[in-house]
């Protein structure tokens, strides 16, 4: 692993952000809108629902965590799509950088993009709605890690699709997270789902993460086994994501699509 090359690829995306104020604004805009929207919904529910009456901001915290996952995944996809849009794909894939280094670089740089978008939104939620995700305490770090790993795994699946099917797969990149959202039990407990879907939902780390988040905020108790399970599931998806990415890369080499990839 050559960290200088990983840094170089990260720098490419950092320069892209730094060169364009609208791009920075775009990164911040959507999470902030989300926070405002869910902040007001959260406030309304807090005032009108018995379930949420004891804890301010369960929905808003869920929205922030879900947005973290969403931004992580989209950031990974976006950075890959940037190479396709700019017709730089061939240059990147003939540079002496290993596929593993590309994955590590995108994974690390996605954190930066995610935080640029989310930190201002999280900070706004404190004075505006009196909600801070820091109320989750030390488990927050583990929950964020599990979410991040799962977000990157989804990014890997989508980018594998881009390698396999070309730029036409782009729409799936945007829709990917919405497919899973209903099963993720982000805003409601898992009991709401029909039995069959509960089984499927438990195969996702989201259910365990968001159940744990609610448990911490509503019952003030931390169940580390939930966090452990979510982390293990996220790691499994991440490993599968890497395998699928490699398979797609070798498949693209066979089909000859790497040389013509571009809009």
């Amino acid at each position: 692993m050559n960290f200088s090359k990983i840094y170089a690829l990260g720098l490419r995306h950092l320069y892209l952000i730094m060169n364009s104020f609208p791009r920075v604004l775009d990164l911040i805009y959507w999470p902030t809108v989300q926070i405002f929207l869910w902040g007001f919904i959260s406030k309304f529910f807090t005032l009108n629902s018995d379930y949420y009456s004891n804890t301010v901001g369960v929905i808003l915290t869920a929205a922030i965590l879900y947005d973290f996952l969403f931004r992580a995944s989209i950031s990974f996809n976006m950075m890959f799509l940037e190479e396709i849009w700019s017709r730089n794909f061939t240059n990147l894939f003939i540079a002496p950088i290993k596929i593993s280094e590309i994955i590590v670089s995108l994974t690390l740089t996605a954190i930066l993009r995610t935080l640029i978008g989310l930190v201002p939104a999280v900070l706004i939620s404190i004075p505006l709605f009196g909600v801070s995700i820091l109320e989750l305490g030390p488990p927050l770090v583990l929950l964020l890690l599990a979410l991040y790993l799962f977000g990157i795994s989804l990014g890997l699946f989508v980018t594998s699709g881009l390698l396999r099917f070309g730029p036409s797969f782009e729409n799936i990149a945007w829709a990917s997270l919405f497919f899973l959202a209903p099963l993720g039990c982000i805003y409601y407990p898992i009991d709401i789902l029909p039995n069959i879907l509960q089984i499927l939902a438990k195969g996702l780390p989201l259910v365990h993460i968001f159940e744990e988040m609610r448990s911490i905020l509503l019952n003030d108790s931390v169940n580390y086994s939930n966090i452990f399970i979510s982390s293990i599931i996220s790691v499994i998806y991440f490993v599968i994501g890497i395998i699928v990415f490699y398979a797609s890369y070798f498949g693209a080499k066979k089909r000859g699509t790497l040389i013509n990839m571009g809009e």
Binding site: N2, S4, K5, Y7, A8, L9, L11, R12, Y15, L16, N19, S20, E82, E83, S86, R87, N88, F89, T90, N91, F93, I94, A95, P96, I97, K98, I99, F250, K253, K254, R255, G256, L258, I259, G262
Partner: protein, 243 residues
Amino acid sequence: MFIQVKNLTKIYKDYLAVNKINFFIEKNKTIGLLGPNGCGKTTSIGMMLGLITPTSGDILINNKNLKSFSRDQILSRLNFASPYVELPKKLTVKQNLEIYGRLYGIKNLSERIDEISNDLDIKNFFDRKTGELSSGQKNRVSLAKALINKPEILLLDEPTASLDPDIGDFVRSYIQDYKSKNKVTILLASHNMSEVERLCDSIVMMRKGKIIDNGTCEELIKKHGRNNLEETFLKLARSKDEF
């Protein structure tokens, strides 16, 4: 012998793109890959760059099979430029060269960027975004990226396509000058016959995925009884025979 291509074949599903081609390039020589559109030039270059997996056949570099090199081991010795492949448009010229210099692990990168940008006369638009440049400017930046690692093997796919005669001549003169000062083996795919005549030591003619003839410009012109390379190209491209 530096690069040897042996029975190289690429089949896409039921389409035979490259059909058992054989050729070699001696060290520090320039070979021209000619042929009509769709004859398999880009696929052949793609296989040499490791972007396309051959269906069968081998590419040997210094008698060592390309497959036996690790990705970064071989790619650090190669580079490629084509007007159909671009650098990130939203990054400045300087940023692009810096990033590719880092990806190629160039030591004393600032000096190398300085050197190459002076040589290619790109300094006056160094801080402009690459996407805002004219075709000629983009072309020179692309060439700067392709030479940043002082490659032992340089693959050029139509390097002067869509350039005006003045810039086209500048690029050709630069490549000629670069060749004379540096040890580089070049594979040049082009449709510009005067460019090929000027830059190439020998030529490989392809049609429908196969090599139909090869030799030096003079040899081919003489062999086919034509006055220049363009006429020779037309004869070969339109002919049904192999030579």
